[in-house]
């Protein structure tokens, strides 16, 4: 039995089946991007153990195809097992060994990146300084204690917690937060413009004059959801302070008083704080003469890191990112009127893996096919002679 299993996981047939399954999956996942958008399709097809049907059915759903993680893992096991079992050192096999060793590095690196890489954005207007970047999809409910003069105490509640209509009770807060409604994606309208029958979901702050309409999840690559929620604040004495509307679409934070302190609440993109700060000196957007075709985008920033005593100017432009303390800053976009730059901030501990893997595999393929070619031309010469 064990022997059979070993045969199976080291077999070439399994390799071919996995490769074919990967092709089918990638093909289907690519076509699905047309309707789902790249991000959603990626989640369902590639970054999952199974592809499910019906895709968004909450109740009954069945796996209909292995997902990217499963295929990748099986392929990796198959690859390693087969080489452990059949490994014989000969020069003739050098190419094959190199190729597959490189592939193992690449697959493992890909898996690590999928699990551990974090991508976020930093939007900076000219002159802005920030010491945090923001998540591109996730939001958080920030509850800030602003009573102290020199220090704000921030309690951030992730969107995933809000989504499940929970009562939130945190030791830093002298009150409970009850999530009354939560919309993954929404449009806000003034009540006066929302038409008959529209009701506000909040009774405090500007939310009392705003109607919230649910919207389907955003699919386009450049769109993000606008989550909104109605939250009720319940002090520990059992009374209620009222219900507030919090939304990513509401710019300014709202304040209230509780327990003798002033609190600020705001639903905002999740933040990743950094031990250093970045200031935008100047964003430049060059075009080709007489056209609207962009020629180059660049952001001149100042990087200040008191811990490491760094204070220097850096130019970030197309294909020339800034790498600093394990994070990489890329020129990703800009405000349509060129007033602000958008930097993509990536934290990817295994970014080096594909570079190494590429060199090893390429060398392996060259050696392997080189052997073939030499053998072949010898044979030809033999045949002619």
């Amino acid at each position: 039995m064990l022997h059979k299993l070993l045969d199976l996981i080291t077999s070439l047939k399994l390799t071919i089946i996995c490769l074919a399954a990967a092709m089918a999956l990638i093909f289907a996942g690519t076509l699905a991007q047309v309707h789902l958008g790249i991000h959603e399709a990626q989640q369902r097809y590639f970054q999952s153990m199974f592809v499910w049907w019906p895709p968004d059915g909450r109740g009954f759903h069945v796996p209909i195809f292995p997902g990217g993680h499963l295929i990748g893992a099986v392929l990796l096991i198959n690859l390693i097992a087969a080489h452990v079992k059949r490994f014989r050192w000969t020069w003739r096999k050098l190419g094959i060994h190199l190729t597959h060793a490189g592939l193992i590095i690449m697959l493992a690196g890909g898996l690590f990146t999928d699990l551990f890489a974090v991508e976020s954005h930093m939007r900076l207007a000219n002159g802005d300084t920030k010491n945090y970047s923001e998540d591109m999809r996730e939001t958080e409910l920030a509850v800030v204690d602003t009573s102290s003069d020199d220090l704000d105490q921030v309690t951030a509640i992730p969107e995933s917690v809000l989504r499940h209509n929970r009562v939130i009770d945190h030791w830093t807060l002298p009150f409970q937060i009850v999530v009354r409604n939560f919309y993954q994606n929404s449009r806000l309208k003034m009540l006066s413009q929302a038409g008959e029958g529209a009701r506000p979901i909040a009774n405090q702050g500007p939310g009392a004059m705003i109607a919230v309409e649910p919207a389907p999840p955003a699919t386009a690559a450049d769109e993000r959801d606008v989550p909104s929620a109605a939250i009720e604040i319940l002090p520990k004495d059992g009374s209620s302070l009222g219900t507030w509307l919090v939304s990513d679409a509401l710019g300014a934070p709202q304040t209230f008083a509780c327990g003798g302190r002033t609190w600020m609440i705001r639903l905002r993109p999740s933040r990743y704080y950094k031990p250093y700060s970045v200031t935008l000196q100047k964003f430049t957007h060059e075009k080709y003469g007489g056209t609207e075709i962009p020629k180059n985008f660049s952001s001149k920033v100042t990087l200040i890191d008191p811990e490491r005593s760094v204070d220097r100017d850096v130019l970030i432009y197309m294909n020339h990112p800034l790498r600093y303390r394990g994070e990489t800053f890329y020129q990703a976009g800009f405000q349509p009127d060129d007033s602000a730059t958008i930097l993509q901030v990536v934290h990817n501990p295994t970014f080096i893996a594909p570079y190494v893997a590429c060199v090893i595999v390429a060398a392996g393929l060259l050696v392997q096919f080189g052997f073939h070619l030499v053998g072949f031309s010898r044979q030809r010469r033999g045949a002619v002679a």
Partner: protein, 637 residues
């Protein structure tokens, strides 16, 4: 006779394409359109000769680089452009705009007949209507537009390009532009004085001010409309034109507005005005003389742009790709004929023709690189040219090794088909367009893009070898065992080659993405397409090494490789998502589907039992267990 065949065929073929080798000459008493066509201008961010502007504009508007009038007279692109620039009333009557959509014609109350070309004058009463309709379809994504909506948008774009061309060098309808400029120059100082007086609250000459104000308005409109920037960076001493963000070239309108401050008019503007006036006055000698003056001026002030522009003019005239296309077809036919008889001389003729075609193809490719100062592949058009070029080279090497006409036939077929594809991709205008910011890196264009496209070349070559195997094997008796074996060996070798390049290209693409977007892999459709090719190559090679497939299986899989590669090359672009999609190509869609179906059909044919294959019919069919390889015995014929 047989021995000399190649030496007869080669000169005949060369003579066939010879007329294009001689640059066009202008008769002494004719307008010097060639000289005029060599003058550099800036359009779309690139300095190019007027001839290129003329050809591309006519291609966009008319679908061809030449115009045939109802009288049967042929008009070259430059002649057409000269009329548009200087003699708009005449040009307005030329039937240049293509409309084939009945609904668009119905909008104007016209019934559809077999006429498909219409003149600007015919559309003139409906311009507002066309604009409104087009604005509606402009709001939609290309994929969502109906045939009518695409057609009306196309028409609007053509009309707007045409109107901008008309206002590129002089205001449309100007009769004596040189005199107008003189008047402008002489009144500007007086008007400037009047303006100063007005500002100081003194008495001022209102008439003088109004006169110039009218002209200024006229030139402001000219500067807004201009399609071409014809005034190069130089400027008279102290006459810096207003900063408009147009790099350093300026339109005539801009330059004239700048003249208000200096009272000087740029010599190029005056020369163009004289040329236009001479053209309207039908004075070829004055026209040609002033074209020469501009040419000399450019040669002195802008030597690099001038050299490049005249080279591009010759390149346009020479049309290397359409010439090599002709030669590739001939070579393909000769190579196929060589399997029927007269093998050696026909095969050698095909080989020499291919060398000639490849030389011309290479010349075209290198010329484009020189003109653009870029690695060979920068857009879909150039990828088609490069894929053909790469495949032809590899196929010629195979021909050199195996000497059986197969490599030659593949080279001819792939060279021809890829160049035809390129020809049809060129319809959207300049194929030497400037690159978006993220692509502005020669290192990655030269490595990632070249490796990927070389991988495509190899995949298509493997597929072509498989087509030859199946067609010859099933439908003819010409597939002998030796031929079949060498075909299999070639296919296998080419698949190995494809694996190497596709893999390296894909990973280099990932590294580029890591450099510019911060992630190695983003599941972008084009990336997925590339990895599909790599996976398919890996499957073929492992299936072969594991003994799951033999000769015929290899061929069937290579045929499927054609489908995978065409999906990766074109199919993913049609999805309209991701960072690599270069626009939706509805016209190419049926062709792509047709190609894929044809390959599936060939795979089915190849999957037929061997006794149905004509080449294998006579031989007893060896059972699989006995022999490791399908070994067809030579047929009786």
């Amino acid at each position: 006779m047989k021995r000399f065949l190649p030496w007869i065929i080669l000169p005949v073929a060369a003579a066939l394409i010879f007329p294009n080798w001689v640059p066009p000459k202008t008769a002494a008493n004719d307008f010097d359109f060639s000289g005029f066509g060599k003058i550099p201008v800036l359009v779309g961010g690139r300095v190019k000769p007027l001839d290129t502007v003329a050809r591309n504009s006519l291609l966009i508007i008319h679908g061809k680089q030449e115009l045939r009038l109802e009288s049967g007279r042929r008009l070259g692109a430059m002649q057409w452009l000269t009329d548009v620039l200087f003699n708009a009333p005449v040009a307005d009557q030329y039937p240049v705009f293509v409309v084939q959509n009945a609904d668009v014609l119905g909008l104007f109350g016209w019934e559809q007949t077999d006429r498909k070309y219409f003149s600007f004058a015919e559309f003139a009463p409906f311009l507002k209507q066309i604009d409104e309709q087009a604005a509606q379809s402009d709001k939609l994504e290309a994929v969502q537009r109906s045939a009518y909506q695409s057609a009306i948008l196309n028409l609007r774009n053509g009309l707007s390009l045409y109107q901008r061309l008309k206002n590129s060098i002089q205001p449309e309808g100007a009769q004596n532009f040189a005199a107008e400029l003189q008047r402008f120059k002489s009144t500007v100082p007086g008007a400037a004085k009047a303006a100063r007086e007005r500002a100081m609250g003194e008495n001022f000459d209102k008439a003088k001010l109004n006169d110039v104000a009218e002209l200024i308005q006229r030139y402001e409109r000219l500067s807004q409309m201009a399609y071409m920037l014809v005034v190069p960076p130089m400027g008279l001493p102290g006459s810096a034109p207003p900063a408009t963000g147009n790099g350093e070239w300026h339109s005539v309108g801009d330059t004239l507005l700048g003249s208000v401050g200096t009272g000087e008019i740029h010599p190029i503007v005056i020369e163009y005005a004289i040329i236009g006036d001479a053209y309207r006055a039908n004075a070829p000698s004055v026209f040609s003389q002033h074209v020469q003056l501009i040419t000399d001026w450019f040669a002195k002030e802008q030597p690099k742009a001038t050299k490049r522009a005249s080279f591009e003019f010759l390149f346009n005239w020479f049309q290397p790709f359409s010439q090599s296309m002709t030669l590739y077809v001939l070579a393909f036919l000769l190579a196929c004929a060589s399997w029927l008889g007269w093998s050696a001389p026909l095969r050698r003729s095909a080989f020499y023709l291919l060398l000639l075609a490849l030389a011309i193809h290479t010349f075209g490719l290198v010329s484009r690189m020189y003109l653009q100062e870029r690695p060979p592949v920068t857009n879909l058009y150039s990828s088609a040219i490069f894929i053909g070029w790469g495949a032809v080279i590899v196929a010629l090497i195979l021909e050199r090794i195996f000497r059986d006409g197969i490599g030659a036939a593949c080279a001819g077929a792939i060279g021809f088909v890829t160049l035809i594809i390129a020809h049809h991709l060129a319809g959207s205008g300049d194929t030497l367009e400037m690159l978006q910011a993220v692509l502005d890196t020669n290192i990655w264009l030269a490595t990632h893009v070249v490796a990927i496209t070389t991988g495509y070349s190899a995949m298509f070559l493997a597929g072509m070898l498989a087509i030859i195997y199946v067609v010859r094997g099933v439908f003819t008796r010409s597939l002998k065992k030796q031929t079949a074996d060498s075909l299999a060996r070639m296919t296998y070798g080419v698949v190995c080659f494809a694996t190497l390049f596709s893999f390296v290209g894909t990973v280099l693409g990932g590294i580029w993405a890591d450099q510019s977007w911060g992630r190695f892999w983003g599941w972008d459709p084009k990336e997925n397409g590339a990895v599909l090719i790599v996976l398919w190559c890996a499957i073929i090679l492992h299936a072969r090494w594991g003994g799951f497939i033999r000769q015929r299986g290899l061929m069937i899989m290579a045929l499927f490789g054609n489908i995978v590669t065409s999906f990766s090359w074109f199919g993913v672009n049609m999805l309209g998502v991701g960072l690599h999609s270069y626009g939706f190509m509805e016209k190419a869609f049926p062709w792509l589907v047709g190609f894929m179906i044809s390959q599936l059909a060939l795979m089915c044919v190849a999957a037929m039992p061997l006794e149905k294959w004509r080449s294998f019919q006579v031989a007893p069919i060896p059972s699989r267990g006995e022999q490791p390889q399908i070994s067809p015995a030579p047929s009786a014929g």
